[in-house]
Symmetry: C2
Subunit: 477 residues, 2 copies
């Protein structure tokens, strides 16, 4: 059946990936612009994806003993300044409240760019004894960072995220938490978002302001650029010392607790779009799709068609499938294009002849032949197809990652390879000066020191000194 | 068994209700103070109650076709000023952002005190045709109101809430939505929070800034003061005209849509505390309690006790009961007092002799004899007890409301009756001047014009002119 595309056209992704991305964000109705630059509106379809992400992650956090809290959105300037590295990193991009009603405030308050300082202030109040540890808190909220440039989902002045903040009696336990939460993120992205990740540690230059160590999951987008999917930080007792948080141990002595924080944001939705999307629009992993299956009756005016389609809808829903139906008077071509734009994983068509034959016809968003499914046992068949789509999406994404990650032995190789698109693996001496040179000379940043190391050479190609480890380099969003 | 109360004492509610309230908020670990006056920390136990409220209401909203969105937290001053009544009401209590990073902003932004203006700006972008209506949006977020005084849950500078904002093609449909959502709130408060409500309309003086009509559910607290539980507003097409929102109707003509908004907030948690609490602390309605049942093993050191208690826990959880267990080394007395403070509806104790007899012992938070329950079929028995507790709480609250609501025939009767505590029903001419006099002379405000009217007299006791309707008067939080 020839498709008559009546939905608004989007830019070809191979012609202009940036414009293609913006087109998908707006035409799939994920996002809208507000009158303030860099502050976006999460529309129902975009927000529903976030709700599904929240639902799955929140359950995972709680299983691991975390509790949700909500702290104020404002941070007094004096509080933000308590940890030196932290304030240096965030002060330049804070939005400042200076007036309350018609009164000028004695001290200005910034809208939280992140909440380490607020959590520390609260922890100081509630942690006194080893019995109070660990504290495993998480917060779902929005944060503000007054950035100069913006792009939907990738860089907002205000964005939605979760921030976990935990306190532990021992360094060992805090380090284990940092790793555990990185793995929660990695597993979620791979198993739910169908986005393969590279797990690793950030270099000192790239780590979070105030952290001892930052761990990251890095993803490769369709255009072979990198997206940092989530981070998990180990703070040691640095903040605890700065905020004078102590507890009485089992040994009856005062100690500082050890701290972590970890977060993912609506940036992940940008990652889903850029990992899986194509020239027909969005492609959503079934596990996160607000609508997994759209039922479209064919020749709806004919007797019994609408009823049969609605019965099919009910059958799917009763089986726990997130299904919807389109009973509008738009053409079949428009509908097909519309649900492709919105990335609905499976389209089920049902016309008079299908009903007669006791079947319906399934089209996968990821392509391939249309499938004829008996209405008897249709839910199990559809569940199988949803699993296929989920798996195919992951396989396609990991193929992209593997085919575009290469070993490099010189700055030039990294420069040329990453300019074509991809991740470069190269040995590094560990010196920040060489890292800076890589940015200047190859136009890349270090994405991470991956946990999975292998031997490419013995020296750092930048300075010729002995190499300590392998680093992944790339161009990042 | 004599209780050795080792948990921190709270003030007697009959001696100082205000202090009792604050004690419960902090000692039941619902809330903590931050370093900014009026900005509170929702602690895990307080936030968990809010999560349960969210979960139930959100499902209800979605069943009725509403979709969640997220709009920016900042409103440009020029946008806030578009609707005159609205800005007059809110501007005096806005917190203003004037700096972004180190730059002074060209225009100042207020942190949303409510989002009508933002929704209108967005609706103008996305509503063009009758096919785009209705729009049934809801937002879960925090809002800021720079108030001078503050109390936990009742008056925060920042608080959590939901705000529904809908647009309709006809006045009739918008009015029906306003009523429908008021009823959703009323049913939720009565059936879930066990708080009886009076449904009614606000007088013009008390309605929302910019609304044509405001509907309210009013609740009576233990001290006989009023708490406004939730409101639902009908806007007509006033905002739509101010924001120039139009759509092309089926008649091919341009029209302005009709608008509603409706909201409830974490204030309801204050209402739960003040409706149901007692001198032992919080009392939570089972339907909203984060922990419905606490299992406490007795003589835990004896063989088999902990195992039996854990088995009981698993049985309850498997039956869908939110159950927890206390395996700490605190005394039985401490534990009993602790879970009373936290308002856990049912305490289940299980010791060696109980295990031998195949039973456990249940204590209801609402009091009465302890109950001996066979372990065989314990989940159904516990569910029955939870239902009893829920019903008893509602019955006690409605008795309080009924016994402390009285008919009044003069300003003095209202003044004296409400000073003792209670709601006064009195006839009213409808003139705002008389309403103002009631505040001056009787120290009360109009709570609402209740939907359930009855005849008390023919004249307005303030001015002697013919009465139009009956009004409920009271002292409000």
């Amino acid at each position: 059946m020839a498709k008559e595309k009546k939905v608004e056209q989007i830019t070809d992704m191979d012609v202009d990936f940036t414009q293609w991305y913006t087109d998908v964000c707006t035409k799939a109705e994920l996002i809208d612009y507000s009158s303030i630059k860099g502050m976006f509106i999460y529309r129902p379809y975009g927000y529903a994806i976030w709700e599904n992400i929240q639902h799955i992650l929140d359950e995972e956090f709680k299983k691991l003993g975390h509790q949700n809290v909500y702290l104020p959105m404002l941070i007094p300037e004096s509080l933000l300044q308590k940890e030196k590295d932290h304030v240096e990193g965030f002060a330049p991009e804070c939005a400042w409240v200076t007036m309350g009603g018609s009164d000028k405030l004695d001290e200005r308050y910034c809208i939280r760019p992140t909440s380490e300082t607020l959590f520390c202030e609260h922890y100081k109040n509630i942690i006194h004894s080893w019995r109070d540890l660990p504290k495993l808190y998480n917060q779902w909220c929005s944060v503000l960072r007054w950035e100069k440039t913006s792009r939907p989902f990738l860089r907002h002045r205000e964005f939605l995220w979760q921030e976990g903040h935990t306190m532990h009696a021992s360094e060992e336990e805090a380090r284990a938490e940092t790793q555990q939460m990185l793995n929660v993120y990695a597993d979620f992205m791979e198993n739910v978002l169908a986005m393969p990740v590279i797990r690793g540690r950030k270099t000192d230059k790239e780590k979070f302001n105030g952290a001892e160590e930052t761990y990251t999951v890095e993803c490769m987008m369709h255009d072979h650029k990198a997206l940092q999917g989530g981070t998990s930080h180990y703070f040691g007792d640095g903040f605890a010392r700065a905020f004078d948080i102590t507890y009485t141990g089992r040994d009856n002595q005062l100690h500082h607790p050890f701290q972590t924080s970890w977060g993912v944001s609506t940036r992940m939705i940008g990652g889903i779009i850029m990992t899986h999307g194509d020239n027909s629009g969005l492609v959503l992993p079934p596990k996160i799709a607000p609508t997994q299956v759209i039922v479209i009756p064919v020749a709806m005016h004919k007797e019994g068609v609408q009823e049969a389609a609605e019965k099919l809808l009910e059958t799917l829903r009763a089986a726990g499938i997130r299904a919807d139906i389109d009973l509008t008077d738009q053409s079949m071509g428009w509908k097909a294009a519309q649900y492709e734009m919105k990335g609905v994983p499976v389209r089920l068509e049902l016309g008079p002849r299908d009903i007669e034959g006791g079947v319906c016809v399934a089209a996968k968003r990821t392509g391939g032949e249309k499938l004829t499914l008996p209405l008897e046992g249709v839910s199990d068949a559809v569940k199988g197809i949803l699993e296929d789509v989920q798996r195919e999406m992951y396989e396609k994404a990991i193929k992209n990652l593997q085919e575009n990650t290469f070993d490099a032995h010189s700055v030039e190789e990294v420069r040329d390879g990453c300019a074509r698109g991809g991740f470069a693996r190269m040995m590094w001496c560990g010196d920040e000066a060489c890292e800076v040179k890589m940015k200047e000379q190859a136009g890349v940043t270090s994405r991470c020191i991956p946990f999975e190391q292998h031997h490419i050479g013995d020296t750092c190609p930048v300075c010729g000194r002995p190499a300590k480890q392998m680093v992944i380099w790339g161009v990042a969003y």
